[in-house]
């Protein structure tokens, strides 16, 4: 099963990015093979709808779960429709979160925040 984590740096030993839609990279991790790869988040410089576009990247990459500290309502709708589960990350590195996920220690993310899409023109 493939899972995704928003990242500031392309390094499993660094911490999770606090933003989902505007994260520079997504770590795509395969829990069976242990393979990891980093995708550029093309939504990072979007004027608006970044969460939707970022979620689209994950839908297209075929992940089944997202591990993130926060998630907006539009991104959540995309992920929910695509049947991708969202888990809340804990403080620590991406690797620590992967370990926690594998050990079923992460909880489902419930506090979905309203979007920041009030700045459109």
């Amino acid at each position: 099963m493939k899972i995704a984590i928003p990242m500031d740096e392309k390094d499993l030993k660094t911490s999770v990015c606090p933003s989902f839609g505007r994260a520079p990279y997504f770590l795509i991790y395969n829990t069976e093979s242990g393979e990891s790869l980093f995708l550029d988040n093309s939504a990072v410089a979007s004027q608006g709808g970044a969460g939707i576009k970022a979620a689209q990247t994950l839908v297209d990459s075929g992940v089944k779960a997202l591990l993130t500290p926060r998630c907006g309502e539009n991104a959540e709708e995309v992920l929910r429709t695509a049947e991708i589960s969202i888990f809340k990350t804990i403080a620590g590195t991406a690797q620590q979160n992967i370990d926690a996920f594998k050990a079923n220690q992460l909880s489902v993310l419930n506090d979905i925040h309203p979007g920041f899409h009030g700045q459109k023109g």
Partner: protein, 302 residues
Amino acid sequence: MTFIRDFMVKKGEDMRIAVLSGKGGTGKTLVSVNLASAADSAVYIDCDVEEPDGHLFFKPQIVSSEEIAVKLPSIDNGLCNGCRKCVDFCKFNALAFIKGRPCVFEDVCHSCGGCTLVCPERAITETDRAVGEIRKGTSGSVTAYTGILKPGEESGVPIIKRIMQASGSEGDALRIIDCPPGSACVVVESIRDADYCILVAEPTVFGVHNLNMVYGLVKLFNKPFGAVLNKCLDGENPAEKFCIENSIPIIGRIPFDTELGKMNSDAEIAARESKKYKELFSDLLRTAMKEARRETAFDTQR
């Protein structure tokens, strides 16, 4: 020629003066409402569509109203072949592609209509969604337009576009445009056709920060402008200092005055109720119009 024009009061002259500030509560509506009232006749346009309050002062007799709608894509899943062209086309990320079908995020859509054009199956049609209304009314010598955005709607831009278009039917007139606060898209849309911009500033350090925002905006759009210092007290005025340092013409000063404050909080129009303020706002209007004409003449010479 310029000399003569400066001192002539031209009847039916076409001029658009926008009043803006970096934050709410600075005195945009106070200045706009009173400028419109000080004129022989004027069209007042309330573009602060999230919280229009000019009508509280004018209490206009409503003569007409119009619902404003935006276009939203509606997808016929029976016709859609899942080619994804619409999703890839949308630069606003208002469409997502999930389980082989596009889905629409209404509050992110900018109603550009692009998705309907790129769809090879003609599976996308546009439907109307009401986002607000505009009202036209009269109050003495003032024709007042009010734009109203529905609560919860994301953008007032479609309303401002339409109110500008609708108020254009008044012909040659003095138009006073009461802008929304700040320097975002709604303000850009409000000053688009303005001949002159009045920046209203408060005498505080915070006021200077906000003044700087709208100062940057009018410079960016190459609009002629001047500042009105509101709530003036004796002593140091950081906004005045900022204007002097940046060579911003100060075209008027409004005192921090209990009498004015009381009239304003009672929704009375000072220029109609008080001789003193009728004079102050008439002077301000004359100065603003003179500055605007000078800029227009200067532009023509260039």
